[in-house]
Symmetry: C2
Subunit: 658 residues, 2 copies
Amino acid sequence: VTTSIHPFSGVGRGSGADLQLTFRARGGYRSINHRVDAGSLRLYRWYYSRICQWILGTIIAVVLLLAFVERPSSLSISSDPRHQSNRWEPPCGAPESVEMLCLFIFCLDLAVKSYLIGWEEFRKSKWLISYTVVICVSVVDWVLSVSMECDEKLRVRRLVRPFFLLQNSSLMKKTLKCIKRTLPEIASVILLLALHLCLFTMIGMLLFAKNAWELHFKNLTTSLTSLLVLLTTANNPDVMIPAYSLNRCYAIFFITFSIIGTYCLMNLLTAIIYNQFRGYLLASQQFAEQGYMDQQQFRRIFDELDKDCIKEHPPLPQYTSATLQKLQVVFSHYYLTVLGNLVALANVLCICTILVLNSEKSTEERDNNVLEVINLCFILFYLSEMSVKIFAFGWRGYLSYRSNIFDGFLTVLLLILQIAIFITYRLPYSQEPSSRGVMSLWEMVRLVNMLIVFRFLRIIPDIKLMALVASTLLDLVKNLRAFAGILVVSIHRHISDTVCVRSSVFSMDNTTSNFSTACGTYEQLGYWPNNFDDFAAAIILLYDVMIVNNWQAFMEAYSRYTSEWSKVYFVCWWLTSSVMWVNLFVALILEYVTFLFLTVPGISVRSSLIPLACFLREQIQEPTEEELACQLHQHPHLHLEWRHEHQNIRPSLPSLRP
Amino acid sequence: VTTSIHPFSGVGRGSGADLQLTFRARGGYRSINHRVDAGSLRLYRWYYSRICQWILGTIIAVVLLLAFVERPSSLSISSDPRHQSNRWEPPCGAPESVEMLCLFIFCLDLAVKSYLIGWEEFRKSKWLISYTVVICVSVVDWVLSVSMECDEKLRVRRLVRPFFLLQNSSLMKKTLKCIKRTLPEIASVILLLALHLCLFTMIGMLLFAKNAWELHFKNLTTSLTSLLVLLTTANNPDVMIPAYSLNRCYAIFFITFSIIGTYCLMNLLTAIIYNQFRGYLLASQQFAEQGYMDQQQFRRIFDELDKDCIKEHPPLPQYTSATLQKLQVVFSHYYLTVLGNLVALANVLCICTILVLNSEKSTEERDNNVLEVINLCFILFYLSEMSVKIFAFGWRGYLSYRSNIFDGFLTVLLLILQIAIFITYRLPYSQEPSSRGVMSLWEMVRLVNMLIVFRFLRIIPDIKLMALVASTLLDLVKNLRAFAGILVVSIHRHISDTVCVRSSVFSMDNTTSNFSTACGTYEQLGYWPNNFDDFAAAIILLYDVMIVNNWQAFMEAYSRYTSEWSKVYFVCWWLTSSVMWVNLFVALILEYVTFLFLTVPGISVRSSLIPLACFLREQIQEPTEEELACQLHQHPHLHLEWRHEHQNIRPSLPSLRP
């Protein structure tokens, strides 16, 4: 019997407190808090002998496998209800008697375990208490089931069976504990995902509400489901096709959603889970600690970076009147921003409610006037908030915050729109509303609503977690230029390959006449807008193949209309984009998050923020003087006279070093 | 102007040689090897000024954006050929004149660059020479294009345009270099993926050749395409449904393929790319080096592990006759194994050829006799190989290699099958072949072929890369028990939730009558075998949702037949399985590969192999004596008399430490 420390006292999560002394057995860690008299020790050795534990494992497997033979049993050749003729059902009582035997053995197991650790320890062990409860529930449910001759509606004991497997493996219990500890971090990112989803749902509903493609955005539930499924890419081209077919600009909405949601946020989740479980399997304890920069070193770098990154704001304007000074204190307070955020939230909720109410009505029935008046009130509030802030911070102070510029710009835009609406529809001498202008009232209100939803994004810097994730994403995007460049190059090359030889490889012109007669997946799903007819269309097609969902439809259609070799083209693009580029992107996100976890001891996603942009500057290191000298020595245009008597060669080159 | 070292001299890839002195400019690293006279320096400063570089960047953007307006232009509202009415095409000459302007500026750029670095340096720079060539080609193509009045078939200069972007960004050039360096590693894994694909294609063709589901496995190309697409999960339930509908056991084939290919190999690729690019972005140079165990420390651990892992083989048998001894040397030589592998490869290729030839014929026309005779010859060779090896190594020596057990077992099985075929079909007094036995000749030959393909797996340990990856996967699987347990628990719980309340939530019985009338995606695609009618079917359904492709079909069907709340159930399962569990799995693979890269300086996938199983043993660390004593002090059943006069408390507990 060897002893061990807790294997989960992993990287960056204070390992001292987790230290727990356990005895190691085959596949588990057992508490040493058991009786130590001779009889108990003999029982202990017998209980933890290989044969006993093997029997227990078999019994657990049997209990879990019972699900295959219990009614409805899985003992038929096919699970297709159209083919199913002879499903063999066990006689009532056969699986039940096996189950009773297993339950009896579990009772024995519980008794031995409880005896060995004693009453005091038993009371403290939540797992053993739950074990008792689960066995009791199973027995009661078994009795009920037998008394009802296997015709019960609900078998509770099926629900609790997996517990036996969990209970028996200490390693599994600890994995579960580790997963539980990771949950808050995961929940944070999932929250962000939910916000992302809601925001895009609203924009989508506003964008697509009127038009013909009501299939995917007809009401709140449908829109939410459509976008949730798009997050997993499972309905990728299909959800986009109706809108994209009408106007190619709508593709931007879907592509933005996928890039933020699927590529960034989902991969961030992977990175966080990876870093939480880092060091879980492997005993790289001291090795991982070597990996840390020490606290002081880190602090120094961080301070240096702060100098670059924190921007100075101009001083507040000085007012002479005491009332004005008091007002200035009130208006420059943080709570004003919070109030502004709350009002923006209320506005968005308001729009959302009216959208849901309107989704059942036709376009004509919808009452836009109420919504418009409500919006006007909110916009007046935004305007007053803006002027009050300008009063408190002064003109230059107001503009020195980027969030204020964002707010102010959108508020002014909203005001202009509202005035336009007022002039066009509210003035007494206005003509018939429907006959006038470029936009109808409905469309104008829709635009206002979208701007308001967009303005709601101001809350992002105020929620710490979101600020962290958002700035991570922004930093990543900023620093991905090289990668994005390579992607652009490869897309460009791929498309050029195709478009310039398009007439020989594939021409939609031949098939334009028979849109209705063809019957492959491509035609059935109406993938016509995805073609190589021009550059923009080709980009969207290649994007769809990169997402990989339903790419076989494109492959099949193009190999049908042209030759089998077009399959090679698609496979090449898949390898370039989906395999290479997406993996590079995942690697970068992993690298960034790992860097955060490794360098800052005890960091969690919610606790701290280091802008990547700052760290990247550190990448440029000064070469040593010797390297400089060596390189200069080989310079083809610079003929320096080296003084060979001095071995330490340090030429002075003021012209090269400003 | 500051100086920098090469930012790519990353982790684990000898950084000394890569050291390169460059001057840093905005977004790039420039060589210092330029002229240093006053005029040149002025020109140099002007050329690298912000405004000049900005103009150059704009020109490159313009050249790349030209693709949107050139014929066929993207300037139409929709890309759908059914809606397309008025595509605006620029007049011939308009984009061409813009392009000429751009090309002229590139010429200027090239001239200035070449002048600044001089002829000697120009000759050495591959990028500048390529730049010259690309400009020349573009100009020639441009002249041709204009002379043909924009009616040319192939525009070569479109193909070379992305080069301008690449050429201008040093950072991008270096990223490309880094990608190039990663390619061999990636190619290795892709090779393995290709082998995996081919093997499963052959098994699939043998398994599904005769039956009705010829859609996905009717010939070599179709099978290969189907499985390649399955690797990306894009046709997940569809490819499985016809076979699964006939017999539920066929699901195992597809699930095995996906787990090995999609989950293991593809994630291995991610892990390798991640580790190749680790340290690419961030300046964690010395920090990464701290992370290494030093070579000696590693060697010590490795030696210790070797002791556990390398198995002793029994000595070769001693023969007295000189001829026998000579024969023993020949037969125990490594080349015999190589020969065996080559013969196995020939056999598989043989089967593959006949399969391809047969795929055009109907079942009756197929000539199984030729194949059967060929197989007989190969099996006789295998048999002689086996006996010769037993002669050389002795009975116990032969069995001490696991690969020999695998070979021998399959060879004996093949022999028995061949004898069975001979007895049934070749003996003169045999009856009509079709009327007899459980299997037809065709099915028996098919079984033999499958076993031969399976036996071909013997090559795996002989190819180093494959051995590494395969053992990595095996180790991972072995050590994933805790995770797999949790997955089993969550599947079990999820299914129990459903199956036991199935009568209230969803009953297929109501809908069995109208299979043909319903018309959702679920019904159209014939997803009937995926239901919650029994445990095994429910497992496959949840597996399909975990893969996420087309999961919206299940969600939609179940919310239609039951209530909207079933959506919540599916979303929960998606979060549990796809988001949580798959990410955990990815994290583990990443952890393992990262561990390999971090601990072994200069390791690459192809160079070395550390079984994870061995390292995992290290996870169990001895606690210090003090921790032991402290824990024992708190033991509820053990009342030790502490001698308080000795501060160093070391109780002797022989009974607890065998």
